[in-house]
Symmetry: C3
Subunit: 347 residues, 3 copies
Amino acid sequence: MKKEKQLSVSEIATRLGCEFSGDGDKLITSVGGLRESVPGDISFLANPKYSTYAKSSLASALIVATDWDGETNAALIFSDSPDASFQQVAQWFTHAPAAIPKGIHSTAIIDETAEIGQHVSIGAYTVISAGVKVGDNSTILPNGFIGEGTHIGESALIYSNVTVREHIIIGDRVILHPGVVIGSDGFGYSVNKDGSRSKVPQMGTVALGNDVEVGSNSCIDRARFGVTRIGNGVKIDNLVQVAHNSVIGDHSVLVAQVGIAGSVVLGDYVVMGGQAAAAGHIVVGANTMVGGQAGITKDIKPNQHLWGTPAVDFNKFCENNSNVTRLPKLKKRIEELEARLAAVEKQ
Amino acid sequence: MKKEKQLSVSEIATRLGCEFSGDGDKLITSVGGLRESVPGDISFLANPKYSTYAKSSLASALIVATDWDGETNAALIFSDSPDASFQQVAQWFTHAPAAIPKGIHSTAIIDETAEIGQHVSIGAYTVISAGVKVGDNSTILPNGFIGEGTHIGESALIYSNVTVREHIIIGDRVILHPGVVIGSDGFGYSVNKDGSRSKVPQMGTVALGNDVEVGSNSCIDRARFGVTRIGNGVKIDNLVQVAHNSVIGDHSVLVAQVGIAGSVVLGDYVVMGGQAAAAGHIVVGANTMVGGQAGITKDIKPNQHLWGTPAVDFNKFCENNSNVTRLPKLKKRIEELEARLAAVEKQ
Amino acid sequence: MKKEKQLSVSEIATRLGCEFSGDGDKLITSVGGLRESVPGDISFLANPKYSTYAKSSLASALIVATDWDGETNAALIFSDSPDASFQQVAQWFTHAPAAIPKGIHSTAIIDETAEIGQHVSIGAYTVISAGVKVGDNSTILPNGFIGEGTHIGESALIYSNVTVREHIIIGDRVILHPGVVIGSDGFGYSVNKDGSRSKVPQMGTVALGNDVEVGSNSCIDRARFGVTRIGNGVKIDNLVQVAHNSVIGDHSVLVAQVGIAGSVVLGDYVVMGGQAAAAGHIVVGANTMVGGQAGITKDIKPNQHLWGTPAVDFNKFCENNSNVTRLPKLKKRIEELEARLAAVEKQ
């Protein structure tokens, strides 16, 4: 389906089979969230608690519930399910997915010992080293580098400019976004008597489970020995660092710019907010949630919710923060006590 | 102009038409800031408040105001405008800018449906996909990848190893530094009953305004629907993350390693210090300044100055910090009160 | 030596010349740390203080001291030096290092004015610009870009997808991991009357000393004028930012995601923990240690240990934190004082 360049409010309402109010001739050229929209966008209001944003929204049209009667400057389209209707409209304004060239580009350099599966696409100027295996239906886009002996599963999608170094295991349906680096050396040194550092060989590897996604320019280091292990279904956002020998439990989530130090073990279903970090050699229990920018410095039991550096219980962190904010009041109470006590003492 | 390998202090003074004192035969090989200089550097002192640094500076020569009489080990060159004189000298020690090869390299792969403007340079091994448009006088350096249907404006400069995915809009005079990724998938998942996650299609795109600069290895994700929008004149430093559907207002500045979560709206002229972050779905008013490493967690009015996580007014943050530092004193006053009160109670 | 796919516990014990207890037929397929291991791994216990982890370890076998008698489910191999024995075993399960193709790949594009030393390897699709020098025994892997006039020392190792821009100096034995960017423009602008920004030319360069290592996707910006200088033996982890004109002293260590702002001077042997940052134009004394996520905002004397943002003495930071946690107790003491004083006042 071809992306629409523009549709009028009335055309959209007709396609959806909905009523509308306001200027039906207004031209809509894109979709957007209620608060991020600019003129020309259509947006939607599914949750009544955001009604106040409808008033300040710059969107030219809003899809709202049939009984909504809030204030807004936008034209309105009334739907029994604003969310579902918006999803439909969003697709009309969406480009078809980019076509991935089929087959192996003539400029891809593939070592003769590599085993390439069925229906694999390999882009221009990508280099596949000796002993690499690529599973059926996998795609590697241009300018990539796959090191010696690395195994890539089936239906993997590796974007452009990715480096996967030697002897790495990549599961099925893994997605590596542009600029990702898998298997670079762990950051390990011994300190010499003169304070200089000597490199400790990083002889291990990295294993990514099935259904893992790794965001743009994120880095996962190979183990000093053994394996840096990313569990099944783990989702890693952009610019995340996972250091050597760490283990990320199944279905855990690392939001952008998270840093996991060496030999950390995250349980399953752990969620770390943006820019959060875990110090080396700690174990974080399953289902734990870590707030953005928090820094975990010690072992954590399962099912915790943490914030702050060093990270503590989320509610305790908030309470501490409130208490600090109220320190001037506390000081005032002490001053009053001092004055009153002095008065008593004088009697 | 060819870069000078070395000039003596007296040669520099003569070229500037300035007097000098100290060893005129000292050889200068580079320029540097007052505090970062090493022997062989020439530096300058424009602001008298930094006079104390002149004493400890390792620079071999300093350009100072004609009436400056502070202490230093450096040879001195006296100028009516030390800043301007230093800029002159700095240019003598500067390489000519690297020559950008003209035209389209024979190894660049350009889809036959791409529209390439006048005076465009495209480097070796760069891949330009179907339907791409590149405006006049734009340059794309080696090993890049431009996805299907992406439009690049005029006089853009895209360094090596950059990925711009499909259907992205890049304005005029935009600079993308090496390793930048524009338009990778937003980080969006729905959570299944068993706690695993399913990918939510990221069907939108990214639009960069005119005069935008994006630093090395920074990432800007495409929208879930609609557009992740970077305003005109926005300057983004290295290793910055901008998540899906966010809007960065015109002329805003994101210093290195900043993280902007999804659906954030930054007003115009917002400045976020290094490693600062904004949580998802918040609106930050125009002209707001955010201190380094701060974390904004809620809507912010215009013209604020914030620090801390969760970010509060800058002065309030500093006051809180001071109050915490003084807690031992507060505790002591309480102990004294307890002792005095106990004495009173005994009477 | 070829990597072992599996060895039984008894085979491992025999090879090591050690006794074992437990199931000698258990098959070992990899090595791992005590806490990160999964079934099939062999691990070790060198330090008795970690004995409790032996009980919960999932490792199939443990190498322990001959007199160890703690609890565990693993088979045990008894060694006079568990650490050394483990290192031996780790090597049996290690792939031979990836073979680096010798010589210059036919697709590497090397400007005719470049000077390439003896025994240099240059990978496929790498571009070497005019006037570049590469020292003997250095290696540059595929898809790299080396800018005009850059000099690379001897025995350097530059991984795939690296960009080194023009006129950069790289010392001997330097390692640049995949995706590194050296010499991109510093982040410098002048602010115009209308609030927009104009780019300040970044005319300087970058110099890396000998034995420097730079982690994946890290960025080191060129100076505005003069040189951004990385000392000898400096070790930089992944995703680190070093801004223009900064100086990193010899043998300093920047852990992952550290951010060094512009014109910062770090002394020798400084260690900055993960995600720590230094604000612009400050000087940090030698041997200073900075805790993870800390933010240094002012000049620091040598030999300090710091934490927090703004960073203070490590112990002071911990004390402040404890004091904040105890604020509810302090408040309670004030309430008691108020009640007791009220009682006294009534008398």
